[in-house]
């Protein structure tokens, strides 16, 4: 298997598919809480149901006693669903307390998940939230204010940012804050958004823009432009401002550190259209400003990581 699953993940998965005693596969009839999350297009879906021991007078003191799931998904999605149900049944939480169960708790319960599989745990936490909302509605419990407006998100209101996985702006905004996501790669691992064609990464109003807006301008944080093995972007649909930001990021995070190792550096003078004017300084200024070196050390990485049309001119 290419994935490095923890023993706990494999153990839960095996127990679940064998239908061992104590596993939680299934769907409760007339559940007290029902929540579904995911989409088949994304490759995983979770349907989560739970039953409570009802308190005779105060719904706030209902306690979750039974939890069940149906999951379409990979090994870790099934294991995360098992983890969710086991956690809830073992802890005897009230639905409102259950809202505080985070995807990180699921990850910890599973003994860790591969980074690119974090979204399986997010799916568990999201389905749980939706089930608690359903419980509140059935029990006439005033839950408003405890939760983001899931109904609006469910109705897919708001602009779709990542069309490959149908991820909307309100959802992204909430999750970026909730999960403290700082880079495009972190968003993709946790929410899948941006994991396919990649056009939303740097499109106006895309993932990088949302990150910049929420966390402020990147302060040298390694963003996608500096990441290794990331798909290069097509230049289409990118404003010149985005291009400039990208060029700056690659210069700062990739090229400059390389030059500094050799006692030099690079200074960005101007960007006009696809022409990047820069000055090589220090050691690199003396021995590396030959045109072929500029091409190799500066232009090539920029072409690969930002846009093939870029041209570098050393001044």
């Amino acid at each position: 298997m290419p994935w490095d699953y923890s023993d706990k993940v494999l153990e839960l998965f095996k127990a679940a598919v064998q239908g061992d005693a104590g596993t939680h596969m299934g769907e409760l009839e007339n559940p007290d809480g029902f929540g579904e999350y995911g989409s088949i297009a994304c490759g995983d879906t979770l349907r989560f149901t739970f039953r409570v021991r009802r308190h005779p007078t105060d719904p706030a003191r209902d306690v979750i006693t039974v939890a069940r799931y149906l999951t379409f998904g990979c090994t870790s999605a099934i294991a995360a669903s098992e983890a969710l149900c086991s956690l809830l049944e073992a802890q005897g939480k009230t639905p409102v307390e259950a809202l505080k169960v985070t995807n990180q708790e699921l990850v910890d319960f599973l003994g860790g998940l591969p980074e690119q599989k974090i979204h399986c745990s997010v799916m568990g936490a999201e389905a749980l939230q939706r089930a608690v909302v359903d419980w509140a509605r059935k029990r006439n419990y005033p839950i408003d204010g405890l939760l983001p407006d899931l109904a609006a998100e469910n109705a897919q209101e708001g602009r779709i940012v990542c069309s490959c996985f149908s991820v909307t702006e309100p959802y992204l905004r909430r999750k970026i804050r909730e999960l403290n996501l700082r880079t495009i790669a972190e968003i993709t691992n946790a929410l899948k958004a941006g994991g396919a064609c990649g056009t939303c990464h740097h499109a106006p109003g895309g993932l990088q823009d949302l990150l910049n807006e929420i966390w402020g301008q990147p302060s040298g944080a390694p963003d996608e432009g500096a990441g290794a093995g990331v798909q290069p972007l097509s230049g289409a649909g990118r404003s010149s401002e985005h291009l400039e930001r990208q060029v700056e990021a690659v210069l700062k995070n990739v090229i400059s550190p390389l030059l500094r190792k050799e006692g030099g550096d690079i200074e960005l003078i101007d960007i006009k259209g696809y022409k990047v004017y820069c000055r090589l300084t220090g050691q690199s200024g003396r021995c590396r400003s030959a045109p072929e070196n500029v091409k190799l050390l500066v232009e090539q990485p920029l072409k690969e990581q930002v846009d093939v049309r870029l041209q570098v001119i050393a001044v």
């Binding site: 679940a16 596969m25 490759g43 990979c74 090994t75």
Partner: protein
């Protein structure tokens, strides 16, 4: 638990006869084939023998065979070496949307360098329309690169007809034949190919060795620079043991081709018929015409379930297969081959490839048929898609599959 290996398109074990041929080159016959002394002379003959064995299998002459380290190297060399040598001829490549990454990613890299690439579409069976190919040809087309057989579905491409078209327009023709060689007859003369790539570990030779056929008179720019090995066509001291093994594997493949392909086809058909009679709501991926498919390959999608969990489940029974599911790769998208064939996204996630080999037995196939239906049913019982009567998503979701 008995292990059942049905992933021969991924790799195959080294055959005992092959290993035996290889061993002396790790011990007493250790010389460098480029050396003039006794130690070198001892091994240079082995290289030439292997060259002849490889050439015989594909009806080429030994001088047209160059040994490389793997199929990917061969494909890289064919594409980059051609485009650079034919710079004056043009900057356009024609290939298909279902090639192996060794070709697709190389083409993508060439695109970044300013080349134009046409990725021919395939139909829902994964087959090409040759009219599309002819239409794509321009005065600037320098290379046509089409695989002989698809690794995921086993669908065969009409290589001889493509060869005729390439000849008609005088365009160089490269084929990645990694999955075809050793499984079906491959004849470079009949097919009129100029460049053909073979990988050792798919046919019972070890990993780390391959070969490229370069038709006599085909101008190539050198790709790997260094010593004068392989008549200046590929620098680097040869992997003598691996090459000797590749030669032996080709010899065995040639001798057994008829009997092997008949036998493996019977077993594959037994598996295919068994699965289709026992498991409802499944889809064959690739061409339904069994004559137009590799005799050892079967690719099926099981609706409502996800491929990786099926693989791990089968693994619990000792059965090794592979999947086009996104979850088995580092990406979030299902296989580009399923996408190009416009297989619905959920079905693409559950596509499962069984690829048989010379050591596969009827008992093994029957064992798979014993465990598979119940495993599929169990996973379906777990699936919310199966439990609300929803059908798989429509074709508009193809957008989620990466378009090249």
């Amino acid at each position: 638990m008995k292990h059942i290996y049905l992933d021969y398109n991924a790799t195959s074990p080294v055959r005992p006869e092959v290993l035996e041929v290889m061993l002396p080159f790790y011990k007493e016959q250790f010389g460098n084939p480029s050396s003039v002394h006794w130690a070198g002379r001892q091994v240079s003959g082995a290289l030439e023998k292997a060259r002849e064995q490889v050439a015989t299998l594909i009806n080429a002459s030994p001088a047209e065979i160059v040994f490389v380290s793997c199929g990917s190297e061969g494909d890289n060399m064919a594409i980059k070496g051609t485009l650079s040598a034919l710079k004056n001829r043009g900057n356009h490549i024609i290939t298909t949307s279902v090639e192996h990454p060794a070709v697709l990613e190389t083409c993508a890299a060439m695109e970044k360098d300013g080349y134009d690439v046409t990725y021919l579409p395939v139909d829902s069976h994964g087959e090409l329309d040759l009219a599309d190919l002819e239409k794509a040809i321009t005065a600037k087309t320098a290379l046509i690169s089409v695989m002989w057989a698809n690794n995921e579905t086993g669908t065969l491409f009409p290589i001889e007809e493509i060869g005729r078209i390439a000849k008609k327009y005088n365009i160089r023709f490269h084929t990645d034949a990694v999955q075809a060689v050793g499984k079906i007859p491959v004849d470079v003369q009949k097919a009129n190919v100029d460049l053909l790539v073979i990988s050792g570990h798919k046919i019972g030779a070890p990993k780390g060795v391959g070969a490229i056929y370069i038709r006599r008179g085909t101008r190539m720019t050198q790709f790997m620079h260094g010593g004068h090995q392989e008549r200046n066509r590929r620098a680097g001291t040869q992997n003598v043991a691996g090459i000797a093994g590749l030669g032996k594997a080709c010899e065995l493949a040639g001798a057994e081709l008829d009997s092997y392909s008949r036998r493996v086809r019977t077993l594959r058909d037994r598996l295919e018929d068994g699965i289709f009679s026992q498991v409802p709501e499944i889809k064959l991926n690739g061409t339904p015409f069994r004559d137009r498919r590799l005799p050892n390959t079967l690719n099926v999608s099981f609706a409502y379930i996800e491929g990786e969990s099926l693989l791990l489940n089968l693994d619990m029974f000792g059965v090794a297969a592979s999947s086009g599911s996104a979850c088995t790769s580092g990406s979030l998208e299902p296989s580009h081959v399923m996408g190009a064939m416009c297989v619905e996204v959920t079905l693409a996630h559950s596509s499962t490839r069984f690829s048989l080999g010379p050591e596969t037995t009827a008992e093994e196939i029957d064992r798979v048929l014993d465990v598979l239906p119940a495993t599929v049913q169990r996973l379906r019982d777990m699936s919310p898609l199966y439990n609300c009567g929803r059908t798989a998503e429509g074709c508009e979701t193809c957008e989620t599959v990466r378009r090249l």
